[in-house]
Amino acid sequence: MNLRSIERSTWIYIAIALLLFIVPFIVTGRSMQFILIQIFIFGIFAMSYDLLLGFTGIISFGHVMFFGIGAYSTAISLDRFDSTIPALLLGVVLALVIAAIVSFIVGILTLRLKSHFYAMLTLALAGLFLVAAEKWRSLSGGNDGFTFRLPELIRDSQSQYFLCLVSLIFIFFGLRRLTKSPFGKVLMSIRENEQRTESLGYTVLHYKVIASVVSGVIASFAGVLYIISLRFVNTSVFATDLTIDVLLMTIIGGVGTLIGPIIGAGLVEFAHHWLSGLSDVHWIFERWIILYGTVYILVVIFFPLGIVGTIQAKLFGRTVTKGLKDNKSKVS
């Protein structure tokens, strides 16, 4: 392999990744490590969302259902069978397969229609999954949820840290490869102008469904990691709050950049951590969703490129990604 053909940014990412491998030996505090693990997990989740929103221009309001599917499949598998690696792997496979099937069905039903349909159907379906998890007590344990034991190998927080970090790195480079491939270019051209892509001879629906399935599967994997880090599952993995979190991470970080959502995940996770600590200071911090929602609205209006998108625009003097500013030609 010719080393020179690797882009400069790749070296930077590899350097950061290597630095992150040393971190758990320096930062040994459990709570700090836990926050970093959460950032990695939500980074993966937000990147999967970015593939839809940032690269393909599809809005999903029910992305959390794939997350929840991953969480529950793994948790139930570990709970029903013994807490061994094969049971975990069975859970992971189940999680990925179910997520692929669900995202395929949702995609095939709604992606040939206007973007509104996908947003609505996913919101409705996520609601359905939430209610199902609450009502199907024999399987899900209802609102109270249940705890379970993990296999020996990933029980301590250090090995969980490495597991999540390695997953994050693999998925990041995988998605980066995917979005820079010809397939990714077609996705971006769908985002920019769907009719023109169609008239160039691409079957737009196929590309959108594949993007939806890939995104759903990765989100489900994020759910698997999440549940491993918590050792506990309840219906909160289907809550709309998580969709909002992931929306916020993707949009603040910068849509269509992949690295942006990870940075966004870091910011939102630290904000969570600090804001919940501030609730003793003033009651408004208990209602932090108001702050989130306001920040979110302001970002969508005034800051549609996000952090990374804005920096790229400043550095390179051109908009690398068009961010949320989609083309006007879609308005029919």
């Binding site: 709604t110 040939r112 159907l121 929306l247 209602r287 969703i289 609205i297 969508v300 209006i301």
Partner: protein, 286 residues
């Protein structure tokens, strides 16, 4: 027989409430391609302000008026502050209205407190009466009658007045309307406000019907409204009535006969429509 009839009444009442919410949604969408995810927020604000006034003044009809005024004002604010800055951009619109929905929902908890509130119908609407051997609950009948009144009022405005003509024509081709020298944005603002008022009215009527109000019910109920909009055909006013009644009835009957399936029945209805008739049952011709 009387069981079927009372399920029918039940379903019609639920359907009417969904209709009031969905009708505004579908008109707003039809006219300007704006899908308002904050509609559920208008629903809860209508419910809370109406109930607050009702418990203060003890006058149910005045409380309904208060909730309608809240809806009009909030509709104006939403349109000016939230929808207008991102006109013509679908992705931003969808994202921003959802964000506003959350802000509205959380503000409810700040202003009125996070707990559920119990609400009862006023004395003159409590209880039931008998027709033959069929029991009719007064409040449900009240919802159905009021819903039909609103439907016919809006229907009349749409079919018989100049502004209605503009709205109907705008749904079909808004560029054409603009080129005729009509300020479509102003018309859209009016439609948005009326839609918001209907959502608020729906919330207010829903409060004594379900007996309790809470902040999350806006999102829950607006999901039903989305399903109705898809089934009825986006932009179709009459379609939203039929679809809402269909969803209400399906819910009522399934909840009684197959309670396990009552959750899924609406999703199945919507999936069926999406597969076989993705433009909805009543497509607006243009």
């Amino acid at each position: 027989m009387d069981l079927v009839f009372s399920l029918l009444i039940n379903g019609l009442a639920t359907g009417m409430l969904i209709f009031l919410l969905a009708a505004g949604l579908t008109l707003i969408f039809g006219l300007m391609d704006v899908l308002n995810f904050a509609h559920g927020g208008l629903f809860i604000w209508g419910a809370y302000t109406g109930v607050w006034f009702y418990q203060m003044s003890d006058s149910f009809l005045l409380a309904i008026m208060v909730s309608i005024i809240t809806g009009l004002l909030l509709g104006l604010i939403t349109e000016k502050l939230i929808v207008r800055p991102v006109y013509g951009n679908h992705i931003q619109q969808i994202l921003i209205t959802l964000g506003f929905m959350l802000v509205l929902q959380e503000l409810i908890k700040v202003v009125f407190g996070p707990d559920q509130k119990a609400v009862f119908p006023p004395g003159w609407l409590q209880g039931s009466f008998m027709v033959g051997d069929i029991v009719i609950i007064k409040y449900r009948l009240f919802i159905i009658v009021l819903g039909f009144l609103v439907f016919f009022l809006i229907f009349f405005i749409l079919k018989r007045t100049r502004i209605g003509l503009i709205v109907r024509a705008g749904v079909i081709d808004k560029e054409m309307i603009q080129s005729l020298g009509i300020n479509i944005r102003f018309v859209f603002m009016l439609v948005f406000m009326v839609g918001a008022a209907m959502a608020a009215l729906s919330g207010m009527l829903h409060a004594p019907y379900s007996g309790v109000i809470y902040a999350e019910m806006g999102l829950e109920f607006s999901i039903l409204a989305f399903i109705v909009v898809v089934i009825g055909g986006m932009g179709s006013f009459t379609g939203s009535l039929f679809a809402a009644l269909l969803v209400g009835l399906a819910q009522a009957f399934m909840a009684y006969y197959f309670p396990a399936l009552s959750l899924a029945v609406n999703m199945l209805l919507m999936a069926t429509v999406l597969i076989f008739r993705p433009q909805g049952l009543f497509r607006v011709k243009g």
